[in-house]
Symmetry: C2
Subunit: 95 residues, 2 copies
């Protein structure tokens, strides 16, 4: 089954469920790209499975989960810029 | 020119440039979907223009900007879950 680059974003109020969500993303082989964002390649089934896992971790908690697959053509249009602490910029890769 | 749903994510250390980046996203007609994430429809030219604007706002600052267009087919595969403060979940729409 085709794996697509998948973005996972979340806003979670409390630290404990937020940490569990980040650990679940790592379990699924994703890479942290921002403080509350992960990326990596997942099949449609794995995306669904991750979504259900994250939903269950949010039970009784306040927050938001957003999972977005990105096809290869769109991934090529990605724009990325990162600066170090001195504010020097460079373009980097996303997993 | 074709407009695609575009996701804008950022991690910015200092409050002032982070606020300016969120204001620039609003200027471009995007909607806040998470604390440091916006979404909305942009042409390729507008995405490039926004990227340059955000890069200039990061000059001398420490942070990361990520802009990802999403085609209609991928947008249909988006998974979204939001819970209120009581932890009751529901699926919502993204701009």
């Amino acid at each position: 089954m085709e794996e697509l680059r998948t973005l996972v974003l979340y806003d979670v109020v409390n630290d404990k469920p937020r940490l569990k969500i980040s650990e679940a993303c790592l379990d699924f082989g994703l890479t942290r790209i921002q403080y509350s964002a992960f990326a990596g390649r997942l099949t449609r089934n794995k995306r669904q499975e991750l979504f259900l896992r994250l939903r269950s971790l949010l039970e009784g908690e306040s927050g938001k989960i957003f999972i977005q697959p990105v096809c290869g053509r769109d991934a090529d249009e990605m724009l990325l810029w990162e600066t170090d602490t001195a504010g020097e910029g460079e373009a980097n890769e996303v997993g």
